[in-house]
């Protein structure tokens, strides 16, 4: 039953991704941008312009371009069906390999930010839910409304000013490691893991130190909606019959709160999934403040260079990961909450 559910979800996901690919493909080509002159410059000769257009394949009819991109004419160039996202126009390397270097940075950043946001949000959200209407609840509520509506890039800059310039406890916002440090051999692409594999704990702590500020910035923004959600789901759990019963038989308040928390976590999973998917591209501004070189910065670079294959690749990969995350979290939800069966 579970297997059938997963297969069905995957199948729907593939159809959705296929529609997305088509939509993005035509959308960027219908917009009045000229990637050829962006590449060869405005002063190029008509011959040079035509040659560049031929090289990019932009002289072919639109549907032929789509065919090649999808991989339906593999004799010209490998496409999606052959597992290739194409070649970046700006750099000349394959989009797949570029995304593989940029994506782990973002995944590492947002995963740590989610963990930190959770550590903050669960007690704060519970504090609000256990004292409904009291001063603590009001404070929690206003905080969550505030944190959830903030310009994260500005907070990042503010933190840089305070913690780097004024206090000197944070490193300069210049990337994952200090520019003077030689990065370890990329194995997984995750800096924290790679430094450990290379057996260099000093670099591990340096990377952690450099991640500190961006993770705190993102966790602050994320804590807004997560606290709101924990509080709301907790309140609902506290009103349910089993909590009433637990209170009636005189269980300690702390224990009842723990039971309620478990019941509140299930419904929170869907929201966590959506937030995580959103953050894959939503972390872009924080990445760019701290020059981390994540997938968001790769997207900025590709968009500003009119690099169509790279844009298509980024959108496809981010959406695909979001869909997988939604599915995983629905499965976790089912595992936590035995009432849900597929």
């Amino acid at each position: 039953m579970l297997l059938r559910y997963i297969t069905r979800r995957m199948l729907i996901g593939v159809i959705q991704l296929f529609c997305l690919v088509i939509a993005v493909f035509f959308l960027i080509r219908l917009l009045p941008a000229d990637p050829v002159s962006r590449l060869v410059g405005l002063n190029s000769s008509p011959e040079g312009y035509e040659q560049a257009a031929r090289q990019l394949g932009l002289d072919r009819p639109l549907f032929e371009q789509l065919w090649i991109y999808l991989g339906l004419s593999p004799d010209i160039a490998p496409g999606l069906l052959q597992g290739s996202l194409g070649v970046s126009w700006a750099s000349g390397s394959t989009v797949g390999s570029e995304i593989a270097t940029f994506l782990p940075v973002t995944l590492q950043l947002i995963t740590l930010a989610f963990i930190l946001a959770f550590i903050i949000s669960i007690p704060v959200g519970m504090l609000g839910a256990l004292n409904p209407g009291k001063a603590a609840d009001k404070g929690v509520f206003v905080y969550s409304l505030f944190a959830g509506s903030q310009p994260e890039f500005w907070w990042g800059l503010l933190f840089v000013y305070v913690f780097y310039f004024q206090l000197g406890v944070a490193p300069a916002p210049l990337g994952q490691l200090s520019p003077m440090t030689f990065p370890p051999e990329p194995v997984t692409g995750f800096m924290l893991i790679d430094t450990l594999i290379a057996g260099e704990p000093a670099k591990f702590f340096e990377a952690l130190h450099h991640l500190m500020m961006p993770v705190i910035t993102l966790a602050f923004i994320l804590s807004g909606p997560i606290i709101k959600m924990v509080r709301q789901n907790m309140l609902r759990a506290l009103q349910s019959d089993f909590v009433l019963y637990a209170n009636l038989i005189g269980l300690p308040r702390k224990r009842v709160a723990r039971y309620a928390l478990r019941a509140a976590m299930g419904p929170s999973m869907t929201l966590i999934g959506i937030l995580y998917g959103f953050m894959l591209s939503g972390a872009v501004l924080v990445e760019s403040v701290f020059s981390l070189g994540g997938i968001g910065q790769y997207a900025i670079r590709s968009v500003l260079a009119f690099d169509y294959p790279a844009i298509q690749g980024v959108v496809l990969v981010i959406t695909a990961i979001s869909l997988v995350v939604y599915l995983l979290l629905d499965l976790i939800h089912a595992a936590i909450d035995p009432r849900i069966a597929y």
Binding site: Q16, C19, L20, A23, L27, I28, L31, P32, A33, G128, P132, G133, D137, K138, V140, F141, V142, L145, F146, G148, S149, Q150, P151, F153, W154, L157, V160, Y161, Y164, F165, P173, I221, P225, M229, R231, Q232, R236, Q239, L271, I274, L275, F278, L280, S281, G282, V284, L285, S288, V289, G296, A299, I300, V303, L304, F306, I311, V314, I318, T319, L323
Partner: protein, 304 residues
């Protein structure tokens, strides 16, 4: 935050208002929003300097707290050489205060128009998709689902960068990413209305389907979309500023908060905090104001 999250939080059936008597909070929201609207109307004219003209004084820090009374007295008395730079000047010599209060003209205009545009298209398609259920409207919903699965920020960036960095294109791009939200909200509401008695009654009276949809169902289905707008305007301001910050927004020297933060971002590591801090503070308060207002409306009109 993504609007799907907003929806999830809105959709709660067992909603417990967190602050029962939070009129002070709503008052804060209304004051902020009123101030921003005022600045959008008059901001460009009331600043001491032209927001799009540089001065010869570059990177002047704002006056210290102790200097303010003296400056104020001199300003009113007319004994100063030039009007004080209340928030300092940036690396190009622009007066930051004049630009901060002129920016709502850009930011609020973009956010408001994008919101109105997406509200109209979203409500229209939501009404159609909810009231007439056939394969065509089913397709409409599927298309909207695909649009909604786009990564919002990247999509907005693609649309603006490829179509050209103008305010109009930003408005269209934002409207494009926000339309599916209104479509879904309205459709869900319409679906709930069509089985209600007053629709049957209107039909029995001999009204045409079109007139039932427009005159009876539509007015009863607008509330969630209208409440959502206050929240969406705030997020549209965030998105507009974010686009400028990465270089895919309005062009300099347009006074725009995100652009100002981005101009000051390079200097902040050198200790020049004022070019970024003041416009950021303005965004922070404005979006918070709209979020508070949206939340207050949400609580007031929550059914039950």
């Amino acid at each position: 935050m993504p609007d799907q999250v907003q929806d999830l939080l809105l959709d709660e059936t067992t909603y417990v208002p967190p602050v029962r008597k939070a009129d002070w909070l709503m008052r804060i929201g209304v004051s902020i929003v009123t101030l921003v609207i005022f600045l959008a109307l008059f901001g460009p004219y009331i600043g001491p300097y032209d927001p799009t003209r540089t001065t010869i004084r570059i990177a002047v820090p704002p006056p210290g707290l102790t200097e303010i009374p003296g400056l104020l007295a001199g300003w009113i008395g007319g004994t100063l050489e030039y009007p004080p730079h209340w928030m300092g000047t940036d690396a190009n010599g622009y007066d930051i205060f004049s630009r901060v209060i002129a920016a709502p003209r850009t930011d609020l205009k973009i956010a408001l128009l994008a919101n109105i545009l997406s509200l109209i298209t979203g409500v229209f398609f939501g009404l159609v998709a909810g009231y007439w259920r056939n394969w065509g409207t089913e397709l409409l919903i599927r298309v909207s689902d695909v649009l909604q699965s786009f990564p919002v920020f990247i999509m907005a960036m693609v649309l603006v960068a490829l179509a050209g960095r103008s305010a109009t294109n930003i408005i269209i791009a934002l409207a494009f990413v926000y339309t599916p939200i209104y479509l879904r909200l309205t459709r869900a509401e319409v679906l709930g209305q069509t089985s209600r008695g007053f629709v049957e009654a209107a039909r029995a009276m001999g009204n045409s389907e079109l007139s039932i949809a427009l005159r009876h169902v539509l007015p009863n289905s607008l509330t969630p979309a209208l409440i959502q707008s206050s929240v969406t305007i705030g997020f549209a301001i965030l998105l507009t500023a974010g686009l400028s910050f990465v270089g895919a927004g309005v062009r300099p020297p347009t006074p725009e908060w995100g652009l100002m933060i981005s101009t000051g971002a390079n200097q902040i590591v050198l200790g020049e905090w004022w070019p970024s801090v003041f416009p950021g503070l303005a965004i922070s308060l404005t979006v918070f104001g709209f979020a508070v207002l949206g939340n207050a409306l949400e609580r007031r009109y929550e059914r039950g």
